[in-house]
Symmetry: C2
Subunit: 469 residues, 2 copies
């Protein structure tokens, strides 16, 4: 396995929005609603809240990720000449509205929970305040961006929970849902505790350590397996990790040992071997014996092949002797929970709280804050969702990160974000970190003022809309 630790990113690459998102990347209804607001001169300020309604199976927490991309999107959002021409061709919109779109910029404020922090169901991760049209139009992309990265960072953190001190590397690029998803999976899994990625582009864009071994095709391209190992060792005398399961894992390990001894004799070093199939736990112990008997006790054993949090836990519980896990598809698409039930709901308009009552999808009105309380030991105790202007005990998690469309302050580098995550994850009680979820939810309550406000607004809607008094 090849490890390169890149220095912190140069600013132009790490800057948010390095990949500009077209303004047309929205659901059509954002634009039809905007057109109707525009025509009806609804220019009040609105606040929207982004949150996850429910936990997917086995989840009891989420990891905040994606904010840098979300802010990059907001700070660069515009509708180009060609985009407006396309919209005109739909014959849905007036010339006045299209002119408005042509000059569109997001000028609102954003409050958010920083990347790397834990959050829980119903808690606002991000609140957007601004003119109604602006705050509405960004719905589609904000959900898309935060949903993907928070989901992957959460899934990665479960792999970390399973792997303990063993190294985790993102191998997911080939089966992520697109190449952009692969890039974001590398970023988000690093936040969730991974050491790096096989994705070279992510290595470049995010300054992540990149890792790579060889494929079975490399082995089959040589007449004999041992010839493939020798050729690769010649090319990478310091960083070769040999894939040993193309024909038979133990026979492959014996050949890797031969080549490893040849390397040692030349003053080189076999970095490791990789197992990609079969009974990984049992094979890894036998492979370790073969390596140790050849005097290659320093060589790493890397496991890969259909791994995820549960499989890693199983391999370890069955005594697998693994130094490093290459975790691919199931992490990179969060296979057991491939989306979060994330919503973006209007919570205030013109200074008045609003909410919806749809069955199973009710929302919390009002601009909010999350207050996190800890025990004297530092362990997380509970969260209280209150109103934004409340002064309650605990650490307020949402910070103002954008003012009038401008990003405020410095965005943390990825290693800082990972450190924030690792620090807080260690403070989360083990019972909420279990892979099967377990029965207990982390305690999240609503402040008295928030509860009173909900009751008042619901009462008002019922009497107005449903004829109840």
């Amino acid at each position: 396995m090849t490890l390169r630790n890149r220095p912190a990113r140069s600013v132009e690459l790490r800057a948010p929005g390095a990949t500009p998102i077209p303004g047309l990347a929205v659901d059509l209804y954002e634009l039809t609603m905007a057109a109707s607001y525009f025509e009806n001169r609804k220019s009040e300020r609105a606040a929207f809240s982004l949150f996850v309604r429910t936990y997917p199976p086995g989840r009891r927490y989420f990891v905040s990720a994606g904010l840098e991309d979300a802010l990059g999107y907001l700070s660069r959002l515009s509708f180009g000449r060609d985009e407006v021409a396309y919209l005109r061709s739909l014959r849905l919109f007036t010339g006045e509205f299209l002119s408005y779109l042509r000059g569109f910029r997001f000028t609102g404020d954003v409050f958010a929970i920083p990347e790397g922090r834990l959050f829980f169901a119903d808690e606002p991760i991000l609140e957007v305040e601004g003119p109604l049209i602006e705050a509405q139009i960004v719905e589609t992309c904000l959900i898309n961006i935060i949903n993907l990265q928070a989901m992957i960072a959460t899934k990665a953190s479960r792999c970390l929970q399973a792997a303990g001190p063993r190294r985790l590397v993102d191998f997911s690029l080939r089966r992520t849902q697109g190449l952009e998803a692969g890039l974001k999976a590398a970023r988000a899994s690093f936040i969730g505790g991974f050491a790096g990625t096989s994705n070279v582009l992510a290595g470049r864009v995010y300054g992540l350590p990149v890792f790579g071994t060889m494929a079975h095709s490399f082995v089959t391209s040589f007449g004999r397996e041992v010839d493939a190992f020798r050729a690769y060792a010649r090319s990478f005398p310091e960083s070769a990790v040999l894939l040993i399961d193309t024909y038979d894992t133990l026979a492959g390990a014996a050949k890797a040992a031969v080549v490893g001894k040849e390397m040692s004799a030349r003053g080189e070093r076999l970095r490791g071997v990789r197992l990609d199939s079969g009974d990984i736990a049992g094979l890894s112990r036998k492979v370790r014996q073969i390596l140790v008997q050849a005097g290659l006790g320093e060589a790493s054993i890397v496991a890969s092949g259909g791994l995820d949090d549960r499989k890693i836990a199983e391999i370890i519980s069955r005594g697998g002797d693994i130094d490093s896990f290459g975790v691919g598809t199931r992490m990179g698409v969060s296979a057991d929970a491939p989306y979060l039930d994330m919503a973006y709901k209007m919570v205030e308009l013109g200074g008045r709280p609003v909410l919806k009552l749809s069955p199973g999808k009710a929302s919390l009105g009002g601009r909010k804050q999350v207050f996190r309380l800890s025990l004297p030991s530092g362990a997380l105790k509970r969260d209280v969702i209150g109103l934004r202007d409340e002064a309650l005990p605990g650490e307020p998690l949402l910070r103002k990160v954008m003012g009038r469309g401008e990003i405020l302050g410095r965005l943390p580098a990825l290693p800082e974000i990972q450190k924030i995550f690792l620090g807080e994850f260690a403070k989360l009680d083990e019972k909420y970190r279990q892979l099967d979820g377990g029965p207990a939810h982390f305690p999240v309550s609503h402040s008295a003022r928030l509860r009173r406000l909900q009751a008042r607004v619901i009462q008002k809607i019922r009497s107005r809309e449903l004829g109840e008094s």
Copy 2:
């Protein structure tokens, strides 16, 4: 719901690779293997085969999709100056190899099953032939591109199977795994039988019909629900679809009926209403009554909210009276099967067949062709996987689509691809189209020559690598 049927795409937008993919979008091991091949002067021609190993639960067929993007990638692949500079900074590669990469172009041939055709487990969807390094380096992206679109087209076809003649619209953009995935989900779901998408960018890039209604926030932004409906109707007198479940679906339907009658009186037309929560089947029947009693029998009822193939089937089986389904997240991420077990394996090198024996991951050696046999009725009978140069009965599915790195012939437009899909899907026996999969696999056999070749190669590998004779 707003419908715009766009004319067929202008060439520059539909051209494959409209979004160039960076050369660095690869797993590092593709490059380390390439470097070792380069150093070891392994310049033989190789053939690789792309296929799906196994069916995910409930699947008995797949829909080919993604070829246009795959060919666009191959025809444009290169490593820019900055990319090579990044690779140099990793201190893994020789100057000679980096110079080679700087001049890299894909010069190979590609054979593929056209988009929209059905394929089955183990069948090669695509075979790449070219110099070893070239054919190897494209592995990561080819799997990524075809995996995503084939998976989504297949999932969309299941929604079609459930919905029958009712209209399907892609609503998935907000929770697809990234915005690129949203774009590809719109394309692939159209291939799988959808009528269009809410994704405006996909409308523009692919010339797809775009659809949109309103969100709950539109309703809550007005003092009263009926005021929201009136404002939207004024803005869209011909295309308004009103969302009626913000507070109470039946009360909302009654208000929509009031507004619909006002529209009729003005010579306008209420296009429809949308239900997004609750007991969709039961509510839809009551909503239809309310609309019909108001003389709005022409108005469509659109259902959305957590839908997928199974939920659509359930709503219909419970007597839901729905004209159109907006299908979002679960289709857009193929939630019950968020990846395919897709592999890209070397099958020939320097004219000799190769394969791997890893447990559960064995591959078929040799360059192949798939022959599809039909019954006199036109119904699909069975497939035979043979060697490429065999002349067997049935339609050969893989066609040469790229020669020496150049795309051969015209790429079909999306409506043509959808037509190809719909035509063949109708010929697939109902038992393979069931949503629960059922016990029967579509019959796929291997030709006698392919079987003999496998036996010979396996015997040879065993005696060479494992000391068996």
